[in-house]
Symmetry: C2
Subunit: 198 residues, 2 copies
Protein backbone atom coordinates (compact mmCIF):
# COMPACT_ATOMS: atom_id res chain seq x y z
CA UNK A 1 0.00 0.00 0.00
CA UNK A 2 1.35 3.45 -0.94
CA UNK A 3 0.83 6.44 1.33
CA UNK A 4 1.04 10.01 -0.01
CA UNK A 5 4.62 11.25 0.47
CA UNK A 6 3.63 13.89 3.02
CA UNK A 7 2.13 11.32 5.36
CA UNK A 8 4.79 8.67 4.99
CA UNK A 9 6.78 9.54 8.09
CA UNK A 10 3.76 9.62 10.38
CA UNK A 11 2.49 6.37 8.93
CA UNK A 12 5.83 4.65 9.44
CA UNK A 13 5.89 5.86 13.00
CA UNK A 14 2.40 4.51 13.65
CA UNK A 15 3.23 1.23 11.95
CA UNK A 16 6.30 0.75 14.09
CA UNK A 17 4.41 1.61 17.25
CA UNK A 18 1.74 -0.89 16.26
CA UNK A 19 4.31 -3.55 15.57
CA UNK A 20 5.82 -2.85 18.97
CA UNK A 21 2.48 -3.49 20.63
CA UNK A 22 1.80 -6.38 18.32
CA UNK A 23 4.50 -8.68 19.70
CA UNK A 24 3.39 -8.03 23.28
CA UNK A 25 -0.26 -8.56 22.34
CA UNK A 26 0.54 -11.75 20.47
CA UNK A 27 2.46 -13.15 23.42
CA UNK A 28 -0.26 -12.12 25.87
CA UNK A 29 -2.92 -13.77 23.69
CA UNK A 30 -0.76 -16.89 23.42
CA UNK A 31 -0.25 -16.99 27.20
CA UNK A 32 -4.00 -16.73 27.69
CA UNK A 33 -4.43 -19.65 25.29
CA UNK A 34 -1.87 -21.71 27.24
CA UNK A 35 -3.61 -20.83 30.51
CA UNK A 36 -7.08 -21.67 29.19
CA UNK A 37 -5.87 -24.99 27.75
CA UNK A 38 -4.04 -25.68 31.04
CA UNK A 39 -0.72 -26.08 29.20
CA UNK A 40 1.29 -23.46 31.08
CA UNK A 41 0.92 -20.59 33.55
CA UNK A 42 2.91 -17.67 32.15
CA UNK A 43 2.22 -13.97 32.76
CA UNK A 44 3.69 -10.65 31.75
CA UNK A 45 5.01 -8.73 34.74
CA UNK A 46 3.53 -5.28 35.33
CA UNK A 47 5.54 -2.31 34.05
CA UNK A 48 7.65 -1.08 36.99
CA UNK A 49 6.68 2.42 38.04
CA UNK A 50 8.13 4.69 40.75
CA UNK A 51 5.12 6.27 42.44
CA UNK A 52 5.81 9.74 43.85
CA UNK A 53 2.41 11.37 44.51
CA UNK A 54 -1.01 9.87 45.19
CA UNK A 55 -4.25 11.83 45.65
CA UNK A 56 -7.25 10.45 47.51
CA UNK A 57 -10.27 12.35 46.20
CA UNK A 58 -13.39 12.05 48.37
CA UNK A 59 -15.52 9.01 47.55
CA UNK A 60 -13.38 7.91 44.62
CA UNK A 61 -10.36 5.69 44.28
CA UNK A 62 -6.76 6.77 44.74
CA UNK A 63 -5.26 8.66 41.80
CA UNK A 64 -1.53 8.49 41.15
CA UNK A 65 -0.63 12.03 40.00
CA UNK A 66 3.14 11.75 39.72
CA UNK A 67 5.08 8.64 38.77
CA UNK A 68 8.03 7.64 36.61
CA UNK A 69 8.94 4.60 34.56
CA UNK A 70 11.65 2.51 36.20
CA UNK A 71 14.19 0.23 34.53
CA UNK A 72 12.95 -3.35 34.95
CA UNK A 73 15.28 -5.41 37.14
CA UNK A 74 14.46 -8.63 35.35
CA UNK A 75 12.58 -9.73 32.22
CA UNK A 76 9.03 -9.23 30.98
CA UNK A 77 7.60 -12.74 31.24
CA UNK A 78 7.86 -15.68 33.60
CA UNK A 79 5.91 -18.69 34.73
CA UNK A 80 5.77 -22.47 34.72
CA UNK A 81 5.62 -25.05 31.92
CA UNK A 82 5.83 -28.85 32.41
CA UNK A 83 7.15 -28.19 35.89
CA UNK A 84 9.97 -25.99 34.57
CA UNK A 85 10.49 -22.39 35.54
CA UNK A 86 10.25 -20.30 32.33
CA UNK A 87 11.69 -16.80 31.95
CA UNK A 88 12.03 -14.66 28.83
CA UNK A 89 12.29 -11.24 27.28
CA UNK A 90 10.57 -10.29 24.00
CA UNK A 91 12.12 -7.79 21.60
CA UNK A 92 11.13 -6.20 18.32
CA UNK A 93 13.91 -5.88 15.75
CA UNK A 94 13.37 -3.12 13.20
CA UNK A 95 16.81 -3.68 11.73
CA UNK A 96 16.91 -5.72 8.51
CA UNK A 97 20.30 -7.40 8.64
CA UNK A 98 21.19 -7.80 12.33
CA UNK A 99 19.82 -7.77 15.88
CA UNK A 100 21.71 -5.17 17.97
CA UNK A 101 22.62 -6.56 21.39
CA UNK A 102 21.93 -3.10 22.84
CA UNK A 103 18.28 -4.27 22.80
CA UNK A 104 19.05 -6.47 25.79
CA UNK A 105 20.04 -4.83 29.10
CA UNK A 106 23.17 -6.41 30.64
CA UNK A 107 21.21 -7.13 33.86
CA UNK A 108 18.55 -8.95 31.79
CA UNK A 109 21.23 -11.06 30.12
CA UNK A 110 22.75 -11.86 33.53
CA UNK A 111 19.32 -12.64 34.97
CA UNK A 112 18.57 -15.14 32.17
CA UNK A 113 21.96 -16.83 32.60
CA UNK A 114 21.27 -17.00 36.34
CA UNK A 115 17.90 -18.67 35.67
CA UNK A 116 19.70 -21.21 33.48
CA UNK A 117 22.24 -21.95 36.22
CA UNK A 118 19.34 -22.59 38.63
CA UNK A 119 17.76 -25.15 36.29
CA UNK A 120 15.20 -22.90 34.65
CA UNK A 121 14.48 -22.22 30.98
CA UNK A 122 15.61 -18.80 29.75
CA UNK A 123 15.42 -17.32 26.26
CA UNK A 124 14.56 -14.27 24.23
CA UNK A 125 11.91 -13.94 21.55
CA UNK A 126 12.96 -11.73 18.66
CA UNK A 127 10.34 -10.36 16.26
CA UNK A 128 12.24 -9.74 13.02
CA UNK A 129 9.78 -7.27 11.61
CA UNK A 130 11.37 -6.92 8.18
CA UNK A 131 10.67 -10.58 7.42
CA UNK A 132 7.62 -10.91 9.70
CA UNK A 133 9.39 -13.75 11.49
CA UNK A 134 9.69 -14.56 15.19
CA UNK A 135 12.62 -16.47 16.64
CA UNK A 136 13.29 -18.12 19.98
CA UNK A 137 16.94 -17.72 20.96
CA UNK A 138 18.02 -19.80 23.99
CA UNK A 139 20.12 -18.01 26.59
CA UNK A 140 23.11 -20.32 26.03
CA UNK A 141 23.04 -19.49 22.32
CA UNK A 142 22.82 -15.77 23.14
CA UNK A 143 25.81 -16.20 25.47
CA UNK A 144 28.33 -16.81 22.70
CA UNK A 145 27.31 -13.65 20.84
CA UNK A 146 27.45 -11.71 24.09
CA UNK A 147 30.97 -13.02 24.74
CA UNK A 148 31.97 -12.02 21.21
CA UNK A 149 30.78 -8.46 21.92
CA UNK A 150 32.65 -8.43 25.25
CA UNK A 151 35.80 -9.48 23.39
CA UNK A 152 35.50 -6.42 21.13
CA UNK A 153 33.71 -8.32 18.38
CA UNK A 154 30.50 -7.17 16.66
CA UNK A 155 27.74 -5.79 18.86
CA UNK A 156 24.93 -7.56 17.04
CA UNK A 157 23.75 -10.94 15.81
CA UNK A 158 23.40 -11.26 12.03
CA UNK A 159 20.22 -12.57 10.46
CA UNK A 160 22.07 -15.70 9.29
CA UNK A 161 23.39 -16.33 12.82
CA UNK A 162 19.88 -15.99 14.21
CA UNK A 163 18.61 -18.50 11.66
CA UNK A 164 21.38 -20.92 12.62
CA UNK A 165 21.10 -20.54 16.40
CA UNK A 166 17.43 -20.08 17.12
CA UNK A 167 14.11 -21.62 16.20
CA UNK A 168 11.47 -20.02 13.99
CA UNK A 169 8.23 -19.79 15.98
CA UNK A 170 5.16 -21.00 14.14
CA UNK A 171 2.48 -18.34 13.79
CA UNK A 172 -1.19 -19.18 13.70
CA UNK A 173 -4.66 -18.08 14.60
CA UNK A 174 -4.79 -19.60 18.07
CA UNK A 175 -2.26 -19.79 19.62
CA UNK A 176 -0.91 -16.78 17.77
CA UNK A 177 2.74 -17.42 18.54
CA UNK A 178 3.27 -20.98 19.70
CA UNK A 179 6.66 -20.45 21.34
CA UNK A 180 6.30 -23.44 23.69
CA UNK A 181 6.62 -25.67 20.60
CA UNK A 182 10.11 -24.23 20.21
CA UNK A 183 10.77 -24.89 23.92
CA UNK A 184 9.61 -28.51 23.39
CA UNK A 185 12.00 -28.88 20.47
CA UNK A 186 14.95 -27.74 22.58
CA UNK A 187 13.92 -29.90 25.54
CA UNK A 188 13.87 -32.91 23.21
CA UNK A 189 16.94 -32.24 21.10
CA UNK A 190 19.24 -29.71 22.81
CA UNK A 191 18.20 -29.39 26.47
CA UNK A 192 21.68 -28.08 27.39
CA UNK A 193 20.87 -24.94 25.38
CA UNK A 194 17.95 -23.89 27.54
CA UNK A 195 17.98 -25.92 30.75
CA UNK A 196 20.70 -26.96 33.12
CA UNK A 197 20.16 -30.18 35.06
CA UNK A 198 20.84 -29.39 38.70
CA UNK B 1 6.86 2.06 75.59
CA UNK B 2 3.89 4.23 76.62
CA UNK B 3 2.62 6.97 74.41
CA UNK B 4 0.48 9.84 75.79
CA UNK B 5 -3.20 8.84 75.46
CA UNK B 6 -3.92 11.52 72.87
CA UNK B 7 -1.36 10.14 70.46
CA UNK B 8 -2.12 6.45 70.91
CA UNK B 9 -4.35 6.09 67.90
CA UNK B 10 -1.95 7.79 65.53
CA UNK B 11 0.91 5.73 66.89
CA UNK B 12 -1.02 2.51 66.44
CA UNK B 13 -1.80 3.51 62.90
CA UNK B 14 1.83 4.24 62.15
CA UNK B 15 2.93 1.02 63.81
CA UNK B 16 0.54 -1.01 61.72
CA UNK B 17 1.60 0.75 58.54
CA UNK B 18 5.22 0.07 59.44
CA UNK B 19 4.46 -3.56 60.12
CA UNK B 20 2.77 -3.74 56.73
CA UNK B 21 5.91 -2.51 55.05
CA UNK B 22 8.03 -4.58 57.36
CA UNK B 23 6.95 -7.96 55.98
CA UNK B 24 7.54 -6.82 52.40
CA UNK B 25 10.92 -5.34 53.33
CA UNK B 26 11.93 -8.47 55.22
CA UNK B 27 11.04 -10.69 52.26
CA UNK B 28 12.82 -8.37 49.82
CA UNK B 29 15.95 -8.36 52.01
CA UNK B 30 15.74 -12.15 52.27
CA UNK B 31 15.37 -12.52 48.51
CA UNK B 32 18.42 -10.30 48.01
CA UNK B 33 20.33 -12.54 50.43
CA UNK B 34 19.24 -15.66 48.48
CA UNK B 35 20.26 -14.00 45.20
CA UNK B 36 23.65 -12.87 46.52
CA UNK B 37 24.36 -16.32 47.98
CA UNK B 38 23.19 -17.89 44.69
CA UNK B 39 20.58 -19.98 46.53
CA UNK B 40 17.47 -18.83 44.64
CA UNK B 41 16.29 -16.20 42.16
CA UNK B 42 13.06 -14.76 43.55
CA UNK B 43 11.68 -11.27 42.94
CA UNK B 44 8.67 -9.22 43.95
CA UNK B 45 6.55 -8.29 40.94
CA UNK B 46 5.99 -4.58 40.35
CA UNK B 47 2.70 -3.10 41.60
CA UNK B 48 0.28 -3.19 38.65
CA UNK B 49 -0.75 0.28 37.58
CA UNK B 50 -3.18 1.44 34.87
CA UNK B 51 -1.45 4.35 33.18
CA UNK B 52 -3.87 6.93 31.74
CA UNK B 53 -1.86 10.10 31.07
CA UNK B 54 1.83 10.63 30.39
CA UNK B 55 3.55 14.00 29.91
CA UNK B 56 6.82 14.41 28.04
CA UNK B 57 8.39 17.63 29.33
CA UNK B 58 11.19 19.00 27.16
CA UNK B 59 14.60 17.55 27.98
CA UNK B 60 13.38 15.51 30.93
CA UNK B 61 11.99 12.04 31.29
CA UNK B 62 8.35 11.05 30.83
CA UNK B 63 6.08 11.88 33.78
CA UNK B 64 3.01 9.77 34.44
CA UNK B 65 0.38 12.28 35.57
CA UNK B 66 -2.68 10.06 35.85
CA UNK B 67 -2.68 6.41 36.83
CA UNK B 68 -4.67 4.02 39.01
CA UNK B 69 -3.84 0.97 41.06
CA UNK B 70 -5.02 -2.26 39.44
CA UNK B 71 -5.98 -5.53 41.12
CA UNK B 72 -3.03 -7.90 40.72
CA UNK B 73 -3.91 -10.91 38.53
CA UNK B 74 -1.52 -13.21 40.34
CA UNK B 75 0.66 -13.12 43.46
CA UNK B 76 3.41 -10.81 44.69
CA UNK B 77 6.46 -13.05 44.45
CA UNK B 78 7.80 -15.69 42.10
CA UNK B 79 11.06 -17.22 40.98
CA UNK B 80 13.17 -20.35 40.99
CA UNK B 81 14.66 -22.46 43.80
CA UNK B 82 16.50 -25.78 43.33
CA UNK B 83 15.03 -25.93 39.84
CA UNK B 84 11.47 -25.55 41.15
CA UNK B 85 9.12 -22.77 40.18
CA UNK B 86 8.23 -20.87 43.38
CA UNK B 87 5.14 -18.66 43.76
CA UNK B 88 3.72 -17.02 46.86
CA UNK B 89 1.69 -14.24 48.40
CA UNK B 90 2.64 -12.52 51.68
CA UNK B 91 0.00 -11.21 54.06
CA UNK B 92 -0.02 -9.32 57.35
CA UNK B 93 -2.55 -10.52 59.90
CA UNK B 94 -3.56 -7.89 62.45
CA UNK B 95 -6.17 -10.17 63.93
CA UNK B 96 -5.19 -11.95 67.14
CA UNK B 97 -7.19 -15.19 67.02
CA UNK B 98 -7.71 -15.99 63.34
CA UNK B 99 -6.55 -15.25 59.79
CA UNK B 100 -9.53 -14.05 57.70
CA UNK B 101 -9.57 -15.73 54.27
CA UNK B 102 -10.80 -12.43 52.81
CA UNK B 103 -7.10 -11.48 52.86
CA UNK B 104 -6.58 -13.77 49.88
CA UNK B 105 -8.26 -12.91 46.58
CA UNK B 106 -10.09 -15.90 45.03
CA UNK B 107 -8.03 -15.49 41.82
CA UNK B 108 -4.82 -15.63 43.88
CA UNK B 109 -5.99 -18.82 45.56
CA UNK B 110 -6.84 -20.33 42.16
CA UNK B 111 -3.53 -19.16 40.73
CA UNK B 112 -1.57 -20.89 43.53
CA UNK B 113 -3.55 -24.12 43.10
CA UNK B 114 -2.88 -23.91 39.38
CA UNK B 115 0.86 -23.54 40.06
CA UNK B 116 0.66 -26.64 42.25
CA UNK B 117 -1.09 -28.60 39.50
CA UNK B 118 1.71 -27.64 37.10
CA UNK B 119 4.41 -28.98 39.43
CA UNK B 120 5.41 -25.69 41.07
CA UNK B 121 5.65 -24.73 44.74
CA UNK B 122 2.88 -22.43 45.96
CA UNK B 123 2.25 -21.05 49.43
CA UNK B 124 1.35 -18.01 51.47
CA UNK B 125 3.44 -16.33 54.15
CA UNK B 126 1.37 -14.99 57.03
CA UNK B 127 2.85 -12.44 59.42
CA UNK B 128 0.91 -12.93 62.65
CA UNK B 129 1.69 -9.51 64.07
CA UNK B 130 0.15 -10.06 67.49
CA UNK B 131 2.67 -12.79 68.26
CA UNK B 132 5.44 -11.45 65.98
CA UNK B 133 5.44 -14.81 64.20
CA UNK B 134 5.63 -15.68 60.52
CA UNK B 135 4.16 -18.84 59.06
CA UNK B 136 4.47 -20.60 55.72
CA UNK B 137 1.15 -22.19 54.75
CA UNK B 138 1.35 -24.54 51.73
CA UNK B 139 -1.38 -24.13 49.12
CA UNK B 140 -2.71 -27.67 49.68
CA UNK B 141 -3.10 -26.92 53.39
CA UNK B 142 -4.89 -23.66 52.57
CA UNK B 143 -7.18 -25.60 50.22
CA UNK B 144 -9.01 -27.45 53.00
CA UNK B 145 -9.82 -24.21 54.84
CA UNK B 146 -10.95 -22.65 51.58
CA UNK B 147 -13.25 -25.63 50.94
CA UNK B 148 -14.63 -25.31 54.47
CA UNK B 149 -15.49 -21.65 53.73
CA UNK B 150 -17.09 -22.61 50.40
CA UNK B 151 -19.19 -25.16 52.28
CA UNK B 152 -20.56 -22.40 54.52
CA UNK B 153 -18.05 -23.04 57.28
CA UNK B 154 -15.95 -20.40 58.99
CA UNK B 155 -14.32 -17.77 56.80
CA UNK B 156 -11.01 -17.78 58.62
CA UNK B 157 -8.22 -20.04 59.86
CA UNK B 158 -7.75 -20.10 63.63
CA UNK B 159 -4.36 -19.53 65.23
CA UNK B 160 -4.27 -23.15 66.39
CA UNK B 161 -5.07 -24.39 62.88
CA UNK B 162 -2.26 -22.26 61.49
CA UNK B 163 0.14 -23.70 64.05
CA UNK B 164 -0.94 -27.23 63.10
CA UNK B 165 -0.90 -26.77 59.32
CA UNK B 166 1.98 -24.45 58.59
CA UNK B 167 5.61 -24.00 59.52
CA UNK B 168 7.01 -21.23 61.71
CA UNK B 169 9.64 -19.33 59.74
CA UNK B 170 12.89 -18.72 61.58
CA UNK B 171 13.74 -15.06 61.91
CA UNK B 172 17.30 -13.84 62.01
CA UNK B 173 19.67 -11.08 61.11
CA UNK B 174 20.58 -12.29 57.63
CA UNK B 175 18.54 -13.81 56.08
CA UNK B 176 15.81 -11.94 57.92
CA UNK B 177 13.04 -14.42 57.15
CA UNK B 178 14.48 -17.74 56.01
CA UNK B 179 11.33 -19.08 54.36
CA UNK B 180 13.21 -21.43 52.02
CA UNK B 181 14.12 -23.48 55.12
CA UNK B 182 10.39 -24.11 55.51
CA UNK B 183 10.18 -25.03 51.80
CA UNK B 184 13.07 -27.48 52.34
CA UNK B 185 11.24 -29.04 55.26
CA UNK B 186 8.13 -29.65 53.16
CA UNK B 187 10.14 -30.93 50.19
CA UNK B 188 11.77 -33.47 52.53
CA UNK B 189 8.81 -34.52 54.62
CA UNK B 190 5.51 -33.58 52.92
CA UNK B 191 6.23 -32.76 49.27
CA UNK B 192 2.59 -33.50 48.34
CA UNK B 193 1.62 -30.39 50.34
CA UNK B 194 3.55 -27.97 48.17
CA UNK B 195 4.60 -29.73 44.99
CA UNK B 196 2.84 -32.08 42.64
CA UNK B 197 5.01 -34.52 40.71
CA UNK B 198 4.04 -34.23 37.07
Amino acid sequence: MNFPTKKTQTSNFINKANLGMQLEEEINATNLYYLTKDLAVIYKKPTPVQIVKVDYPMRSKAVITEAYYKTPSTTDYNGIYKGYYIDFEAKENHNKTAFPLANIHPHQYKHLLNIYEHGGIGFIIIAWNHYSENYLLPIKALEKFWHRMENDGRKSITYLEIKENSLLIKEGYNPRLDYLKAVDYYLDSNPELIKKTI
